[in-house]
């Protein structure tokens, strides 16, 4: 009897594994588990057996039945899944995806964020000041006295004066922020002051009367030119994501002494000379120097107690170099065809 049950079960499972249609499943179910199936016959005949046998055979018959049922379910699922008609749902996957609205942070903001992140990562604090300034903060306190030819270097927008008022101007650099910060803070400190600046000059593809400047100022008791070189190299290497060397050349800005022009090694050829750097291996980037003691004095520090460096460069120029933008006027054009590229 036992062997009969196993035989039926194995035969059933074998037949089930060969089914192709739902109808066949239905037929097999009827054949093996239906009222007239051999199994049913066996179960019906159980009553003729001893209690012992009844228990044993009944148990194995039920297990076999369960196994057949599970197999039927399994193959029914396999058949129904394999019969899903994907072809009838075919679509053209070359039709463009649905256009999603996407906003664009202005490239100036992006570059500004990058720069600020690098500096704050080096422990710099961000400082700010007004865009409309007094002559005092923009010039006098920076060691650029009235009637001095050095003032010609900064083409200045002046505000139409009102009676009894100091002559106001649009700041020509972010350097006034240095003075405003130093008036309220004691060294050691390191700050950056990013912001909008203005120079009254005709605009063309490389000149713009409105631009963003970044200025770094580090003051302590023994901050040196060598330290400046280090910070400069660190910053540019991070910003351009490659090893950058800094080169200093003598220059003059009244608020520093010594003063430098600083160049970085060419991004394309790393200093060997190529077309991008007109074969000299270096790119001119901005001005820098050791803070003039007169500036410390104007900010309320004693002469020769502190030393430090100041360093300024244009945001647009960096953005133009990094993203190969050819016309500086695009930044303030508001043209979405430009803005949406970044």
């Amino acid at each position: 009897m036992q062997s009969k049950i196993i035989e039926i079960k194995n035969k059933a499972i074998e037949e089930i594994s060969e089914v192709k249609t739902k109808e066949e499943i239905f037929d097999l179910e009827k054949k093996y588990l239906g009222r007239n199936s051999e199994f049913n016959q066996i179960l019906k005949n159980l009553k003729n057996l001893s209690e012992e046998e009844k228990k044993e055979i009944g148990k194995s018959a039920n297990l076999a039945k369960k196994e057949i049922e599970d197999n039927l379910k399994k193959y029914e699922r396999i058949i129904s899944e394999s019969n899903f008609d994907f072809q009838s749902e075919k679509i053209d996957i070359t039709i463009p995806g649905k256009r999603k609205k996407r906003g664009h942070l202005n490239i100036l903001s992006q570059v500004r964020n990058e720069i600020e992140d690098i500096f704050t990562g080096m422990g710099f604090e961000v400082a700010d000041g007004p865009e409309v300034e007094t002559e005092h903060y923009n010039f006098d306190a920076l060691n650029i006295p009235k009637d001095h030819p050095a003032r010609d270097e900064w083409d200045t927008f002046w505000i139409k004066p009102e009676e009894k008022l100091d002559h106001m101007l649009l700041r020509t650099h972010t350097s006034p922020v240095q003075i405003r910060y130093m008036e309220k803070n004691e060294p050691p400190f390191r700050i950056i002051s990013p912001g909008k600046c203005f120079r009254r000059e005709a605009t063309d593809s490389t000149h713009e009367h409105t631009f963003y400047q970044f200025e770094a100022l580090v003051v302590g008791e023994d901050v040196s030119v060598a330290n400046f070189k280090y910070i400069g190299e660190q910053f540019f290497s991070k910003f351009f994501n490659k090893d950058i060397k800094v080169r200093l050349r003598p220059s003059f800005f009244p608020f520093v002494e010594p003063g430098f022009e600083f160049d970085i090694s060419c991004l394309m050829c790393s200093g060997k000379g190529c077309r991008a750097c007109k074969n000299n291996g270096w790119l001119e980037l901005g001005g820098a120097g050791m803070v003039n003691q007169n500036v410390f004095v104007a900010s309320g520090y004693p002469r020769n107690k502190y030393q430090g460096f100041a360093w300024g460069f244009g945001l647009e120029r960096l953005a133009m170099m990094k993203y190969k933008i050819s016309d500086i006027r695009l930044f303030h054009s508001g043209d979405l065809r430009f803005i949406k590229q970044f």
Binding site: R102, H104, L105, N106, G123, P188, P250, S251
Partner: protein
């Protein structure tokens, strides 16, 4: 300024090539902006003398010439007629490749052989003239290279000397001093030059104001013959951008280029009183007039300094000479002026008179009064070489400038540069710059020659040491400073957050100028006071903005050419004038939307939705939109009077901003054909109200249920009224009400449909409970707002 390589080389006795020289100057002294090599394409052009001229047998317009070029005689066919026998002319030899691309070959012209070409100015690249063959000076040597004859074997360096070194380096000797210092040579350029102090009674000088004129040297010279300068001097001046005039004027210019001291020459006979010249250096009398050399008449103030004789003004000191006082072709006797004037005064005068000359350029940079003497000695030497004789010299110099001393702490050099430079190197560098040093313990006492007006402090000296030593030799060094976390700038962080939210919501960021024109202000109805620029680039950029809106509207106008729908924003400052102080600079946010207009007021609702989005992201939940508090006439013109709301916060007096459509009238003025909605928010106020920290709210434990209600309402019913009634009828069991459908019906009625979400914190609501509330809502709406509920 332009500098001649040959001249610099001559003075400094360097053996550097022009390239080496430029690199050296660039890295240690000044920026070299360009190098122009003269005489390119003139390699095979020599000086020839015309021996004979004959007619061409076969061509009327051509001549046959025989030219002596020293080692041989050439037959050359020529088409120009300005030549005569004995003229010296440039001859391009066979094989020459001229700048314009012409290659000279042996040729047969109308049957006659020609072995070269006589050249006009333009063919040589020396000028534009094609009037005829360039006739050279008589002193040109036959057979010598044209580049040599015209001193074209030279390179011109454009060097940018900045104000700190304009005292001493706007001249060839100044740059030569740099070169010899860099070569490690010690040359005293002034040593050979000594002023002859012969007395004379033909000249008297009186200085009224010693402050404005610290020194005035005059020299009388006789036996002057006005003629052209020698070729070498003319070409040197020419190549440095100065037109040669005559031997005397050229000499003054030459000495200025060499030594940096502007000189002036007067005609003795034109300016003398009786038989003697009386020079007065005095302030102008208020409204005194002078006619300058260029013919312009200038009215003067008492701050302007004049050079006069007894009865008339001869020159504006240090700026320009007056008419009827200068050199002319009949001059035989001259007075040369070598003087020193106060830099600030010269600067003010030349700015007021709007005259800028080589002389004023130098005087306004402040020059060493001791150089006046050197320059005088030098020009006398040159004029004597032309046959002039010195009659005598008068020098008024009451407070001679002496050398000064700077004490340098040697340890400070290394501390400031961050590089230890050996003491011996330091001393060598300073001595090569003609600074005398004396060691005193840890200090170095340095004597500064008077021409180095820029050297005043220890740092000035350290700069000299650093740059000559070479900044490239300074190794970058990690700075040591105390560890302190960078302070966060809250305003900036906040700005960044808002930017990110808006970009995430699909807005693009624009940057606009801080100014706009009166026209923009008028169109936008911004009639309030603006800060005005005194010197705008153009009238369209004359006012400092008091609103970001005009800029944004212009952006929209331009971008509508390329885009149908626009979402842009700007965060930037506006400038509110304040009496007696700097303006208030407010950081503002303006967002603008141009979108689908098929539904009434859609732009407005879009804008309002974005405001909600920003506020919700900031965790602000108690903001609301309200009608303008003032009377309708006071609504700024720029806004659409009936599609405009104030943004406020529950329990706060402060107005955060506005949201609304732009007035169609204003849009029309800006020539914008579409509707535009804008939100304008004060960033500082927004930051303050968003400062409260967010708190976690526990998630709901019991399910909610949703019912819909729709109704038809009369035009005066506002959604806010409906919402108030729904909420008020809900016995705190309404979690949210959401308007999901709205459309216009005939007779100005509107249909609204809302989802209402019900829920309780402590149990699952039964259907029956919700039904009861819905019933109440319906009753209240019908009763209070007379709406028709669709059932």
């Amino acid at each position: 300024m332009q500098y001649s390589y040959n001249w610099l080389k001559e003075l400094s006795e360097t053996n550097k090539t022009v390239g080496q020289m430029a690199d050296l100057i660039m890295m240690h002294s000044f920026e070299v902006e360009s190098i122009e090599e003269k005489g390119k394409g003139l390699e095979n052009v020599v000086v020839g003398k015309i021996l004979e001229i004959k007619k061409h047998p076969n061509a009327d317009k051509l001549q046959l010439t025989k030219i002596d070029i020293g080692n041989k005689k050439l037959d050359i066919v020529c088409g120009a007629w300005n030549i005569k026998v004995d003229d010296k002319v440039p001859v391009a030899l066979v094989g020459a490749k001229l700048q314009n691309g012409i290659v000279i070959k042996e040729a047969e012209i109308r049957g006659i052989k020609s072995f070269g070409m006589l050249c006009a100015e333009d063919e040589l690249g020396l000028g534009k003239s094609h009037e005829g063959i360039l006739i050279l000076g008589k002193d040109a040597e036959i057979g010598e290279k044209l580049t040599k004859a015209l001193d074209l074997d030279d390179a011109i360096l454009e060097i940018k000397v900045l104000p700190d070194r304009s005292h001493d380096a706007l001249c060839h000797i100044g740059i030569a001093r740099e070169i010899s210092a860099l070569d490690g040579k010690k040359i005293d350029y002034y040593k050979k030059i000594k002023l002859n102090r012969k007395k004379t009674d033909k000249l008297s000088i009186k200085i009224q104001d010693q402050y404005l004129c610290p020194r005035y040297i005059g020299a009388v010279m006789t036996d002057i013959k006005i003629e052209e300068s020698p070729t070498w001097m003319k070409s040197r001046l020419n190549s440095l951008g100065i037109n040669p005039i005559n031997n005397i004027v050229d000499a003054t210019n030459y000495v200025m280029l060499e030594l940096g001291q502007p000189l002036h020459a007067f005609d003795f006979d034109q300016i003398k009183d009786d038989e003697r010249v009386n020079i007065f250096v005095r302030r102008a009398i208020e409204n005194e007039k002078i006619t300058l050399l260029d013919g312009s008449v200038k009215e003067l103030f008492d701050e302007d300094l004049l050079i006069t004789n007894k009865d008339r003004a001869l020159a504006v000191a240090g700026v320009m000479g007056g008419e009827n006082s200068g050199i002319n072709e009949n001059t035989t006797k001259i007075v040369i002026e070598s003087a020193n004037f106060n830099s600030t005064s010269i600067r003010k005068t030349r700015m007021r008179l709007k005259v800028k000359t080589e002389a004023s350029d130098r005087f306004e940079k402040e020059i060493d009064p001791n150089v006046a003497e050197i320059a005088m000695a030098r020009i006398i030497e040159i004029v004597e070489s032309y046959g002039g004789k010195i009659e005598g010299v008068v020098d008024v110099y009451s407070k001679p400038v002496e050398k000064w001393k700077i004490k340098l702490d040697l340890a400070y050099v290394g501390k400031l540069l961050g590089e230890e430079i050996p003491e011996k190197t330091i001393i060598n560098i300073l001595e090569s710059l003609q600074l005398k040093t004396k060691k005193k313990g840890r200090m170095l006492e340095i004597e500064i020659p008077t021409f180095r007006i820029d050297l005043k402090t220890q740092e000035d000296i350290i700069e000299e040491i650093g740059r000559i030593y070479g900044y490239e030799k300074i190794n970058s060094t990690v700075p040591f400073y105390p560890v302190q976390p960078a302070k966060m700038d809250e305003e900036r962080q906040f700005e960044k957050t808002i930017r990110d939210y808006l970009v995430g919501a699909g807005f693009s960021e624009v940057y606009n100028y801080s100014f706009y024109g009166k026209n923009d202000a008028e169109m936008a109805g911004l009639s309030q006071k603006h800060l005005e620029l005194e010197n705008p680039i153009n009238p369209e950029q004359a006012l400092m903005r008091v609103s970001l809106v005009p800029g944004i509207l212009n952006n929209i106008k331009e971008n509508l050419k390329n885009f149908k729908e626009i979402e842009i924003f700007e965060i930037g400052r506006i400038y509110i004038p304040k009496d007696g102080s700097l303006p208030e600079e407010k950081n503002m946010l303006v967002g603008a939307i141009v979108s689908d207009e098929s539904k009434k007021g859609n732009n407005f609702y879009e804008a309002k939705g974005y405001v909600d989005l920003i506020f919700n992201k900031l965790g602000i939940e108690d903001h609301y939109f309200d009608e303008f508090k003032n009377s309708e006439e006071k609504i700024p013109l720029i806004w659409h009077k009936t599609r405009f709301a104030e943004i406020e916060i529950e329990g706060s007096e402060e107005l955060i901003g506005y949201v609304g459509e732009m007035s169609p009238i204003v849009l029309e003025r800006f020539r914008i054909k579409k509707r535009v909605a804008i939100f304008e928010i004060d960033m500082e106020i927004l930051r303050k109200v968003s400062e409260g920290e967010r708190e976690f709210k526990p998630l709901r434990k019991f399910p909610t249920s949703m019912r819909d209600i729709s109704m038809t309402a009369e035009p005066e019913v506002r959604v806010e009224d409906i919402l108030d009634i729904i909420q008020g009828s809900g016995m705190k069991l309404i979690i949210d009400v959401d308007l999901f459908d709205i459309f216009d019906l005939p007779e100005e009625k509107t249909s609204f449909a809302f989802h209402i979400i019900f829920g309780a914190d402590d149990r699952t609501l039964k259907n029956q409970e919700v039904d009861e509330i819905m019933k109440k809502i319906t009753e209240n709406l019908e009763k209070d707002l007379k709406v028709e509920i669709r059932k």
